[in-house]
């Protein structure tokens, strides 16, 4: 296999809080290959957004910091580069879109100006070129009458339109990687379908890779080739989307699937209990207290086991040496 575009190795991100340090991401390994869409799945507080902010080096300062690990982007460790270089990477090479497009846009400038500003800063275009390019970008993300809408302010647009503008800004510098943090969670289903469709179309046209962060397994199934499941700051399973959905292995992944309402009148089998507080995770596997397959070994950190080609699970259940 060729070298991944984005290669995260042993990422540990910590926050210092009043109650002491908290490890929000604990030893994350993640490979994003060129042209691929990778889904980072998990419930609130599992560390998926913190992982994304760590990549962008946008952790809230001074509370959050990357304690360990490497984030290799095209062979360069993003944790080592200077802040000025990092600014060039953000937007130019890796860009990010967020859940709530309203708060990510500046309400006092027109959307055109905001795209235009990004273009001028990163691509060094002339005023006229940048203006034309801004219209092109809006056209690209499917905004009707782009030449007119470019003078709109964010509040004059609907949620779906604003998310399109965010995507236009994120794409304006033709990044190699787009990190999308719950890009459709705040949107209605019909609009969500539009945006997901748009992202996969643009991925083809521009040839970028996407790191899609979401809690919605349906969204993952529709858009991703690779999936990584996180629980309480740790990765627990990674596989191709087909493998994961057809042969989920980790007890947490199994629990997630059993929780999704799908077939009529079938009783849901939710995971019992609640996510443990990051302040007092159990020794060993973080999922043990809610796990139906718990065994004595779970008090030790489980190893990564490849149960079928490229399908990795972090669970003692699949440890053949031991059994």
């Amino acid at each position: 296999m060729n070298t991944p575009l984005l290669n995260i190795q042993g990422l540990v991100t910590q926050f210092s809080t009043r109650r002491g340090p908290v490890t929000a991401v604990d030893g994350l390994d993640l490979q994003l290959h060129s042209g691929q869409t990778l889904g980072l799945v998990g419930e609130s507080g599992c560390g998926k957004s913190v992982a994304a902010l760590s990549i962008m080096r946008l952790l809230p300062k001074p509370a959050g910091r990357v304690a360990k690990g490497r984030i290799l982007f095209e062979g360069r460790d993003l944790l080592e580069v200077s802040e000025a270089d990092m600014r060039r990477v953000r937007g130019n090479e890796i860009s990010m879109i967020f859940q709530e497009p309203m708060t990510s846009l500046n309400p006092v400038y027109t959307v055109g100006f905001q795209i235009y500003e990004a273009l001028q800063k990163h691509r060094k275009l002339s005023r006229r070129q940048a203006g034309q390019e801004a219209v092109n970008m809006l056209q690209l993300v499917g905004i009707p009458e782009p030449a007119a809408r470019i003078n709109d302010y964010p509040h004059q647009m609907s949620g779906g339109m604003r998310q399109r503008v965010m995507i236009a800004m994120a794409l304006s510098c033709r990044p190699k990687v787009m990190i999308a943090d719950e890009p459709t969670t705040a949107l209605d289903v019909t609009i969500q379908a539009q945006i997901l469709d748009l992202i996969s179309r643009l991925k083809q046209e521009i040839g970028m890779s996407v790191l899609l962060i979401t809690h919605d397994l349906g969204v993952v199934a529709e858009t991703c080739q690779q999936v990584l499941v996180m629980y309480a700051g740790r990765a627990v399973e990674k596989a191709s989307a087909v493998d994961l959905f057809e042969k989920p292995a980790h007890p947490y992944t199994l629990g997630l699937f059993a929780s999704i309402p799908k077939v009529e009148d079938e009783i849901l089998h939710p995971i019992s209990g609640v996510v443990p507080s990051l302040y007092d995770l159990p020794e060993g596997c973080a999922f043990q207290d809610r796990c139906a397959y718990r065994q004595a070994q779970c008090l030790k950190r489980p190893p990564w086991i490849e149960i079928s080609p490229e399908h990795w699970v972090c669970c003692w259940r699949y440890d053949t040496h031991h059994a």
């Binding site: 209605d188 969500q192 469709d197 199934a221 989307a241 849901l268 939710p270």
Partner: protein, 322 residues
Amino acid sequence: MPENILSTEGLSKHYPLKEHGLFHRQTVVRALEDVSLEIQEGEVFGLVGESGCGKSTLGRVLLRLEDPSAGRIFYRNQDLGAFDRDRLKAFRREAQIIYQDPYSALNPRQCIQNLVQEPLDIHGIGTKQERSKQVRLLLEKVGLRPDQATRYPHEFSGGQRQRIVIARALALNPKLILADEAVSALDVSIQAQVINLLKDLRREFNLTYIFISHDLSVIKHIADRVGVMYLGRMVEVAPKHAFYQEPAHPYSKALLSSAPSPDPRSKKERIILSGDVPSPINPPAGCYFHPRCPECLDICREVFPPLRLLSPQRWVACHLYQ
């Protein structure tokens, strides 16, 4: 045939917009337009639609938390609009609400005991000992430990808080529960726990739910009948099985096909609607859905199709079926 617990006739709700100027033209937001429906005792009526479609407004008007601009509501065949103070208070006892955001629905300065007990206090039910015993029972019913009663809302997780809200809603032995996006804010695994709880409670107490959600898979799981709203109008009402197997209204079809399914191999043909929901201040002429409708006819641009009976229990507002 079960009796109607709640029914409406031509219910509308318009919110006036303030407009200053020389030519003082009053504009209104048409949040709800001519909705007639019947909800039977003991059923779960699912109300779906996208944000701004009026489903929450309908819920609020149905429980008379807001007065309708036009139309009437009947609770057990009696005009709810004509209820006096005492009868309205009795109605408040029987009709309860579960809110979307359990955190903001609970007073942060009250402990769980007082929160769950408050409805009993308001309606003066039982002695002090009886009330506090009742609270303990309720907490057990919703899967919380009675010894947690002295804690405060911020000490609980989202799912647990929603259980507290549910316990409080059950305190008065209600007949009707309005669940307004009651599980939307919860994580999937917790969401499933709460859905199961709501289903169990319904069986145990013979409750009627009006279940509002934007999530079609949740509705599919809990509802008996489904009502689809678009821009303040009811466009389809159908029994669940019929609706999910064969949606009639083009908007229902689009909604169902937009919902992502958790199966990477199913490359189903998605209907992707163009454009956005129009503004309820200035809805399009004719059928409100026609600008986005993939099956639009000429008549759709001019005449609004009324809700008509398509087959037993199936109502649809679309010219394709007239």
